[in-house]
């Protein structure tokens, strides 16, 4: 049993729903208790879709448990097929149905229905949403292509990624992984499609977003696969590579550097002339915005990064190399991506946090005392508690991160969006200077950020200050017996600008312990400052 205040991912059947709802003509019969239809809201409210997800729930109740729940499954399968006439059917269980073990997939397969049926085995007590989506996509593609294998002989006829030259046509690729409830997939697809178009590359199938069963059948005709979201599409891309010899890209094009590298990788795969390495500088505003003097104050801003594997890796690269931040914490909840995240953390001299425990993430965040948090919807809770500015870079997300405006993360425009989004929560340069200089204002008080438009004044400032002071007390309680801040030390600490104060407090205490001092006065604070900057 694990205490979970917030969960980074839903159960695996929600991942399966994401695949079904993203596609056309695929229906999902889900054996689940009454109430699990809440998941429809993710699509109708968060994604704001104007149609119901193609999911038929059996919605059994307590009184059904005494009866024949297997018959209930069969009735719903029959009704769903008759009513919705899908081209393919997914059949699976939610966590409660998994306990009853009615084997709905096998039941449906035995009903003599004339359509491809994919039985989903999604262990709800050990796996999670992204795994469920990846497994569903993989099983669906594999099932449909094998179903069709009699007509074609897979692999044998594949002419390789450079066949387009002989066939005298433009190269064509599949965009793999974008789905509903993914982070900004809608606009990422648009951005990448445009980018490829500019390079003379056609997009054949986007999967699962908008794809039909007929589209799945055309997957093998592509010259290469673009794995945009490895959490969702990597197993599927690997399978297509093994069985049809279609190579796939490994770089996720989020950020200027990554997009440039992605283009190079794809051009090499397809045997094309390498692209202009300066394209990003010409096509995106991020490089100039970041170069311009207004951004100088961003240098060395301490940033804590958490989210799914792909977005975290991308964010760390942008933060360091494109915005000049200092990454002071790095982690992911995607266990499948633990290895690359660990490697990157090591390069940065950090210990990667691989965890889906919200409390562990909050503790790591408090420990790192960053000036900016780049995380998920969950990190907004901890950041609020700790009084730290925060921007969302990854799922889980809520409705405000499915905006009406064009807001990709990928490609050149994605970099523009990222620049604005990440810099916005930080205190603006002038205000930061002035608050560092004058502490006695009645309106622009400590911790106040007037560009965010809230009331400010004493209350807002004090509240966050108190919260962070509280959490500091808790975390340093263990040492309070040996370390004592003098009144003059505390007063000096208060002069440190709000967002770095947590770090200075920690550093000073660490320094005091190291040098065997029991009391911290203003001089100790200056000593520590010199010590750590040396």
């Amino acid at each position: 049993m694990d205490l979970t205040l917030w969960t980074y991912e839903g159960p695996p059947h929600v991942g399966a729903m994401r695949i079904a709802a993203s596609m056309e003509g695929v229906h999902y019969v889900l054996h689940a208790p009454q109430g699990d239809t809440y998941a429809d809201l993710l699509f109708t409210m968060i994604e704001r879709r104007g149609r119901r997800p193609p999911v038929t729930y059996t919605t059994f109740q307590a009184r059904d448990l005494g009866g024949d729940t297997a018959e209930l499954v069969k009735r719903h399968v029959r009704e769903a097929v008759e009513r919705f006439r899908p081209d393919a059917l997914l059949v699976g269980e939610s966590c409660t149905a998994e306990l009853i073990q009615d084997q709905p997939g096998a039941l449906a397969a035995g009903m003599g229905l004339d359509l491809p049926i994919v039985s989903l085995e999604l262990p709800a007590y050990s796996k999670k949403e992204n795994w469920g989506a990846a497994e569903t996509l993989y099983q669906l593609v594999r099932g449909l292509l094998l179903h069709n294998a009699a007509a074609q002989s897979p692999g044998a006829a594949n002419p390789g990624p450079q066949a387009w030259k002989e066939q005298q046509r433009r190269p064509r690729v599949n965009l793999m992984g974008p789905s509903l409830l993914g982070f900004r997939c809608r606009d990422d697809v648009h951005e990448i499609r445009g980018l490829l178009e500019d390079h003379g590359i056609d997009v054949q199938v986007v999967l699962p977003m908008g794809a039909s069963v007929a589209d799945v059948m055309r997957l093998p005709d592509a010259d290469a696969n673009i794995c945009l979201y490895p959490e969702i599409a990597e197993p599927c891309c690997s399978w297509l590579e093994r069985n049809y010899g279609i190579p796939f890209t490994r770089t996720v094009p989020i950020g200027i550097g990554a997009t440039t590298q992605f283009l190079q990788e794809l051009h090499a795969l397809l045997g094309m002339e390498p692209p202009d390495p300066e394209e990003g500088r010409q096509r995106s505003r991020l490089p100039w915005y970041s170069d311009s003097v207004d951004s100088t104050y961003l240098t060395g801003k301490r940033v804590f990064i958490f989210g799914d594997g792909s977005h975290v890796l991308a964010a760390a690269r942008i933060a360091r190399q494109e915005l000049g931040f200092q990454v002071v914490g790095l982690g992911t909840y995607s266990r499948e991506m633990a290895r690359p995240v660990r490697t990157l953390a090591k390069e940065l001299g950090l210990e990667a946090l691989i965890s889906d425990d919200y409390l562990a993430v909050e503790a790591a965040m408090a420990e790192a005392a960053p000036e900016l948090v780049l995380g998920t919807q969950m990190e907004r809770h901890s950041a609020k508690r700790l009084g730290i500015p925060c921007a969302v870079i990854s799922t889980p997300m809520h409705v405000q991160d499915v905006p009406a405006r064009y807001s990709p993360q990928m490609g050149w425009e994605g970099a523009n969006v990222i620049f604005d989004t990440w810099v916005h929560p930080l205190m603006m340069g002038l205000e930061e200077h002035l608050i560092g200089m004058f502490r006695h204002d009645f309106e622009f008080v400590d911790g106040h950020q007037s560009h965010l438009g809230h009331l400010g004044g004493l209350q807002a400032g004090q509240m966050t200050a108190e919260i962070s002071a509280d959490s500091e007390e808790q975390s340093t309680a263990a040492h309070s017996l040996t370390l004592q801040w003098t009144a003059d030390g505390e007063a000096e600490l208060k002069k440190i600008p709000f967002f770095v104060r947590g770090k200075v407090r920690r550093n000073t205490e660490a320094y005091a312990r190291e040098s065997g001092r029991k009391e911290i006065n203003s001089e100790t604070l200056y000593d520590a400052k010199a010590h750590f900057s040396a």
């Binding site: 205490l3 429809d40 809201l41 409210m45």
Partner: protein, 414 residues
């Protein structure tokens, strides 16, 4: 009573009782709701409430793992450990609700025993109670019934004469209703749930209960078992329902009817005035209510009698005939009341009858809007101050607003 009572079964599109946590955690901020269930349960609550940013979460889930299912870990010991961990982090919690879910009920995890044991261990510092919010047993607002019913045994005993208002009310509405009752001379008026989980009202022979909400069957039964009398009345939705509801208490206290009239007549006059602009918009419009909260029958009664709407179908997830009798009596002859649901067939009926407004859950609202059918999403009704004579205008507005919006955005449409 001559409503046409029908039943239907099939796929249902409703929330489970866990959802009640979304409003109960605000009514009693010193309580914590610990669901014992799966990742699905955790995901449900955070999808519903996670758009708010919490510095201190008021609810969480003890997620069962494979070890718990395989019996490798003693589930009761695990639960104790999780509860201890939680209370360590949140020492200010005064009441801990252990909330049962579908998984915990299917594997028959005894949460009542766990609550008892934890109560012993914590020695009164925190009171631990349990109820079920599982989908297999409860629908949406029935979760509140479970939570309140679980509190009833903890209520102190007193035979003092008092009026007990049962069911969650918005704070301002609660204050207003209490003021009005006191004007009538009913001196002691208390509420369940209270605003602080530690300030539980007493109960006993002198207690007269007015149910503020129609979904409190179990709570009513347990209060009756402790000596309280449940006053029969329609529910305090709309001016008429609220007046009859208040009169039921006045009668039980033997308040002189002219006093009641002196107090309530001006309110009724004002409510009529407040209702008028909405009545103009709603009168003659056809409404179809899908099952969700058990509020549907009182709402239909209000919308028909006070706003002049035509009732196409009134769905309810569950019909407690005894608690709903006074309401059913006020419905027009032949009203189609449907208990239960086959959501696909019900949607066919919606499409066939082309109502002017459909009250439905959020899983259906946007899809119906996209088909050109105006909707009012029903969950808002449990988040809005809708009770009492003074709130009749606000309640009507919840229904007239979507119609008004359609007119504003599509002025040429009929």
């Amino acid at each position: 009573m001559s409503a046409n009572l029908l039943k239907e079964s099939g796929p249902r599109e409703v929330f489970c009782g866990l959802t009640s946590i979304v409003w109960l955690h605000r009514r009693m901020p010193d309580a914590f709701f610990l669901v014992v269930g799966s990742r699905t349960c955790a995901h449900l609550i955070q999808s519903a409430a996670g758009v708010m940013i919490f510095a201190e979460p008021r609810f969480g889930t003890a997620i069962l793992s494979e070890r718990d299912l395989a019996g490798l870990a003693d589930a009761q010991e695990e639960l104790d450990r999780v509860a201890r961990e939680l209370l360590q982090r949140r020492p200010e919690i005064r009441t801990l609700f252990l909330v049962g879910s579908c998984p915990s009920e299917v594997i028959k995890l005894d949460l009542a025993r766990a609550a008892e044991r934890l109560n012993e261990e914590l020695g009164g510092r925190v009171q631990v109670v349990n109820y079920s919010g599982s989908g297999i047993e409860t629908t949406f607002t029935q979760g509140e019934d479970g939570a309140l019913a679980a509190l009833v045994p903890m209520l102190p005993t007193s035979d003092e004469k008092q009026l007990l208002l049962v069911g969650t009310l918005a704070n301002a509405v609660e204050d207003r209703l209490i003021t009005l009752f006191q004007r009538m001379g009913i001196a002691t008026v208390r509420s369940l749930p209270p605003r602080q989980s530690t300030e539980l009202p007493p109960v006993g022979e002198g207690t007269r209960v007015l149910l503020c909400q129609p979904f409190l069957g179990d709570t009513a039964r347990r209060l009756r078992d402790r000596g309280a009398t449940i006053l029969a009345a329609p529910y305090p939705l709309g001016a008429e329902g609220s007046r009859l509801w208040m009169e039921a208490a006045a009668q039980a206290w033997g308040v002189d009817p002219t006093t009641v009239s002196d107090i309530l007549d001006p309110l009724m006059q004002r409510a009529k005035q407040a209702l008028e602009p909405h009545r103009r918009r709603l009168a003659g419009q056809r409404i179809f209510l899908l099952p969700e909260s058990q509020l549907e029958i009182p709402l239909a009664r209000f919308l028909h009698r006070e706003c002049g709407m035509e009732l196409v179908e009134v769905g309810t997830p569950y019909l407690n005939r005894e608690l709903m009798q006074a309401e059913l009596d006020l419905l027009p002859d032949g009203t189609r009341v449907m208990e239960g649901q086959h959501v696909e067939q019900q949607l066919d009926r919606v499409r066939d009858s082309r109502p002017d407004l459909v009250v439905c859950g959020m899983g259906l609202a946007n899809p119906l809007e996209a088909e050109g059918i105006a909707t009012k999403w029903s969950i808002e009704l449990v988040f809005s101050p809708i009770h009492g004579i003074d709130q009749a205008g606000e309640l009507a507005e919840l229904f007239s607003r979507p119609l008004q919006r359609h007119q504003l955005l599509h002025p040429t449409a009929p």
